[in-house]
Amino acid sequence: MQVVCPGGSGELVAAALIIGLSNGALIALIALGYTLVYGIIELINFSHGDLFMLGTFVALTVLAALGLEGGAAETPWLALIAAILAAMVFCGVLNMLAERIAYRRLRNAPRLAPLISAIGVSFIYINIGLFWRGPSPIPFPDLLPDFEFVRAITGADTLITFTTKDAFIIATAIPLMLGLGWVIKNTTMGKAMRAVAQDREMALQVGIDVDKVISFTFLLGGLLAGAAAVMHGLYNGNTVFTLGFTAGLKAFTAAVLGGIGNVTGAALGGFLLGILGAMTVTCYGGEWENVGVFTLLVVILVFRPTGLLGEETPER
């Protein structure tokens, strides 16, 4: 253990693994938004991380309106559900609007044009965030009970903590991911999404309203980012207007790692990145986190340029 992880014992590594799972689930949810959009229109939606940031602000606003900004004695489940739904709908609809206004007209323009447009949208979101809640970090109410399962069950004094927060993230993120997979595999809209991703012109020919399908894809990506936003706030206890930059970069990295355009890959990449990040922090210290994460990215891309699950798409 000392060889791979000079700073830690087996117990510490196990603890890091759990933190990594929770962080990874959040990264994965955001990464899915990148990969869905890239899969369907080959656009790297630079504004996606900042959309996630705005989601945390919307959740804060909803919780404040319900009088919960300072926290609560008991977990207000209904209010939490309301905050999640509000953030999801907000991010979903805003993402759709951004596509409609800033990307759709550029769909047949050279690839760089919508990319620059997405960077522009990103700046707009960041500045809305700054204007809305100011430059300092904002505390996010601590609403989930701090129950520690491992200690409660084993009775032992251990560093391994699996709290209600971890459980909450896993119990929300996994069903969302499975739900997304189900929608893509089985629904008419999901099949249309896959058809548009594989051959947009042929999709038109069989009668698919491609604009509607692309809108729907942005909606899905936004919904997931909104859910991730609330969980991020509850888990980390704060948010700030620059949150989207790092979160977005990590999530984009996860999407590339898994094979951009591949939905399972994005989820896998998210978890891998989360776990590896937490491990690096535990073993080598926080300042090495990004070194570890991006070294992994470089190594994987050198040996598998299409990412872990990405396939080389045959030219037609």
Partner: protein, 236 residues
Amino acid sequence: MALLELEKVDAYYGHIQALRGISITVEKGEIVTLIGSNGAGKTTTLRTISGIVRPRAGSVTLDGRDLARVPANRIVSLGIAHSPEGRRIFPRMSVKENLEMGAYARGAVDLTEDFDRVFGLFPRLKERITQVAGTLSGGEQQMLAIGRALMARPTLLLLDEPSMGLAPVLVELVFETIKDINRLGMSILLVEQNALMALTVAKRGYVLQTGSIVLADSAEELAKNEMVRKAYLGEE
């Protein structure tokens, strides 16, 4: 009134004029073929009919209805299905899903009959029903592309180079199937490099050269035409 009528259609790819005043008709129940060498504008003609390329001048009408303002994704609901050049099956979907996509415009309807009809024409597809389409052989992909178009229950089928890249035995099969499909009551506009085969199944034909129609006649007469025999049937 003709089922399909193109009148003096001009179409462009960027700045390059691909079609110059093309006029074509397809009557109900007919097989009509477009022959011509590479780059003559055959594929562009089909793409113009199915709304992917918009005519700069002239008109395209189906049953008297102007198609110029119909969005490309609504064309199939009006009764035109396109089996395009290069097949363009959805490579990461199963054979079954590809066929279902063919019927997309018809909404949530029972497709049993349509599957039976396609599998009747192409029993091979039934054996491959769960296979991912990208892993099919070229011939099977061609069958799938035609089958997918049939799932839309079109009145007019546009077939672009259905024999391309196929073994001679499969070419025979595909042309037999084209006749079968026509017997089911569908009109067909067939684009082919294999002019000889095309002229044996078609009733009428047009010869395209650099975006213009240079000859229009019955298939029988075209097959006898000296210029056609030299240029497209490979006779010296």
